[in-house]
Amino acid sequence: MSTELIVALIKANIVLGVLLTNTILLIWFERKLVAGMQSRVGPDRAGPFGILQTVADAIKLMLKEQILPLKADRAMYLLAPIVALVPSFLIFMIIPLGPNLNIEFGGENYIVEFVGADLNVGVLYFLALSSIAVYSVVLAGWSSGSKYPLLGGVRASAQMISYEAAMGLALVPVILYSGSLSLVDIVDSQSGNLSSSIPILNSIVSFIPKWNVFPQFVAFGIFFIAAVAEVNRAPFDLVEAEQELVGGFHTEYSGFRFAMFFLAEYINMFNMCAITATFFLGGWLGPTFENFLPPFLSSIMPIIWLGVKTFSLLFIFVWIRATLPRLRYDQLMELGWKRLIPASLVWLILSAVVLGLREFGLPWS
């Protein structure tokens, strides 16, 4: 067994553990937050502040009976929850969590990259896997052999395909600015502060970190809207509109298989926020306070910064859910195809022109 293999195994296990624990926290976070926004108490029985409620729910779901509908297509019905869960874990692998670590082990120095895998095609990998996730919804909807899931599945596939296009297009200007498809390089390109060639502006602007969100605010908006739609959260949750479709594509699922869909949804939500933070908010970058804090604390500061950014975005996700009513189906399609995609195309051309001018100067000079 080579060292690389051992490191890869450890990383995979850490990712698994972090994502599972994090989901427990996230569900509690959302339920408490929505309860607060609706003047309710929310979960408060299990554990302090009800924080163990999700654990109790998970155990309950695991012990419940698994029902296989009579008209279900057995193979596809069993495959769908797995297809939902696997891409969500794989996407997390490419999110950089911090700078390279120096580990001394057995008298030798190892440099460990603090990321599951630094791919030179990271952005494409992310888009490819999020398009694979569509299958789970389609398959679950179709294979259940029932009307509500089928309607939910058809809606979901149309929605996810439409918003994927806008999401991919909104990422292109970010790639142009960073000059790389690797997420590690994209984070590195955001280090430092903004600068301006005008002296007065420069003194104001030089306090602001060089995050992509400032030059790319339109792309950020488009990406965030598309991200909410891509993970089928309110106000784009037509996929599982309770009032019309009972539970949408997972109506016929029960027990642990339902839990797998639930888990995948929350992991996807977390991934989307972490990816948004990486692309637009500087990822793990932030002051580490090396002079004030003990070395251990300052070395985990990058993770804390990424966590703070991710959870702020998650707060916005939940906030939107508690505030906005659901879109109608035609409104949803119109927003995707007639607003977001043209806007992202125009923004792409604009940022390409600006970058070209910055790089090569005016064409007549």
């Binding site: 297509d73 193979a75 596809m76 495959l79 095609v121 398009s131 089928l150």
Partner: protein, 175 residues
């Protein structure tokens, strides 16, 4: 040993997927078999150090094209039985005859040329990595003309699809 495993695992999944495409009765199973084939092919691309091609394969074929296939299959409905009788008389014999002729032709060429039966998959030059930079570098310099021609072709196809789907009567009703 490890490399062998990494090749044979996706390769066998690929063949199983291809067999599902051919033999499964249910169109959704066929489509999923094709997805299996495409994804395992992408994994083989990665082992050959062509990461960009692998990701594009996943994104375009497995992600976009096959999702549309599934969508269409679901919309049309899969309850109908597959048509198993010959619509052209003797089509089975026709197809197997053509297949035999083609295979014997291929065999003839293979035997009479200097084709060596080295069935081991070729060693990969790991110095050259299929990075986006490398592909963009050659695509936008040496191959810029064919690239632009293909983009025009795609635009023509898109415009034609819109023109075919566009119903002028509906528009007049709106106005």
């Amino acid at each position: 040993m490890f490399e062998l495993l990494i090749f044979f695992l996706p390769a066998s999944v690929l063949i199983i997927g291809a067999l599902i495409v051919v033999f499964a009765k249910n169109p959704v199973h066929n489509a999923m078999g094709l997805v299996m084939t495409l994804i395992s092919l992408a994994i083989i691309y990665i082992t050959l150090n062509a990461t960009f091609v692998a990701m594009v394969q996943m994104l375009v074929y497995a992600g976009a094209v096959m999702t549309l296939f599934l969508f269409v299959i679901m919309m049309i409905g899969v309850d109908k039985k597959e048509q198993t009788s010959d619509s052209i008389k003797g089509q089975t014999f026709l197809v197997s005859g053509v297949f035999l002729i083609l295979m014997s032709l291929l065999g003839y060429v293979a035997v009479n040329s200097e084709f060596s039966w080295n069935l081991w998959f070729p060693a990969v030059d790991y110095v050259v990595e299929g990075t986006p930079q490398l592909i963009a570098g050659t695509l936008f310099t040496t191959w810029i003309f064919p690239f632009e021609i293909i983009s025009i072709l795609l635009i023509v196809a898109t415009a034609a699809a819109i023109a075919l789907a566009y119903d002028s009567k509906i528009r007049n009703k709106d106005a």
